[in-house]
Symmetry: C2
Subunit: 152 residues, 2 copies
Amino acid sequence: METLHFEELAVGDRFETGGRTLTRAEIIAFADRYDPQPFHVDVEAVEDSVFDELVASGLHTMAIANRLVTDDFYAHTSVMGGTGIEDANFLAPVRAGDTLSVRVEVVEKRPSASKPDRGLVTVEQTVTNQEETPVMTLRITSFFRRRSASDS
Amino acid sequence: METLHFEELAVGDRFETGGRTLTRAEIIAFADRYDPQPFHVDVEAVEDSVFDELVASGLHTMAIANRLVTDDFYAHTSVMGGTGIEDANFLAPVRAGDTLSVRVEVVEKRPSASKPDRGLVTVEQTVTNQEETPVMTLRITSFFRRRSASDS
């Protein structure tokens, strides 16, 4: 597959990733290290939270989504690194056994004002579970390399 | 220490966390699992990126910051779970050997419109390295339990 550069990404372009199923052990291991709230690591403690059972850390959902998007989208592009994440909304709980996948849509692009070899592209990620319920949305902006004069 | 409930958190309140030093092995292990871009996992590949050496995934910085804030702030509060993250900006590279710490400031609070037992509090996190350089800022909104009538 040809590498998609800044020039080949257009607002409205959509991509879909494959799926990834989370286990209870993974949910607890991630939260134990990075987000050790009782409702992410302790089945008995969820009754004091807003949840009715053990749920994945929102950061874990973001991380899993990022891996899917990296494998199935970024890997085929000239991405050079991210600059920021906007409007990450945790819309529904992610539970053990859920299978997540991500829809990616290009929502904005602009050339870099100072560096002619790159441009900024914002994509919206919508993470859904196996029932097509959206569990998280976010927008992430990254630099993508432009084609050099020698490419054309 | 008394648990800080919604009522005890005021806009302008500030908290600081302890520090955490990242190793090269940790940076690579996190990225290998969740953000396998060459510039996060392969020292030789950084020259094709916007970076001049191996840097931590922005998601890794968010995760480390969240752990620090959980241990040193959330653990002393009535937090019930997060609803979203806004305006996460990756301001400077995080490299192996860097020691990160987080300043937390309460920037907004409001009662829940539908659930009288909780309120929403937005905090701004500023993550700095050992040279006091800000490497990331973000705002996160979470539910915090209110004191019940029987508490007063």
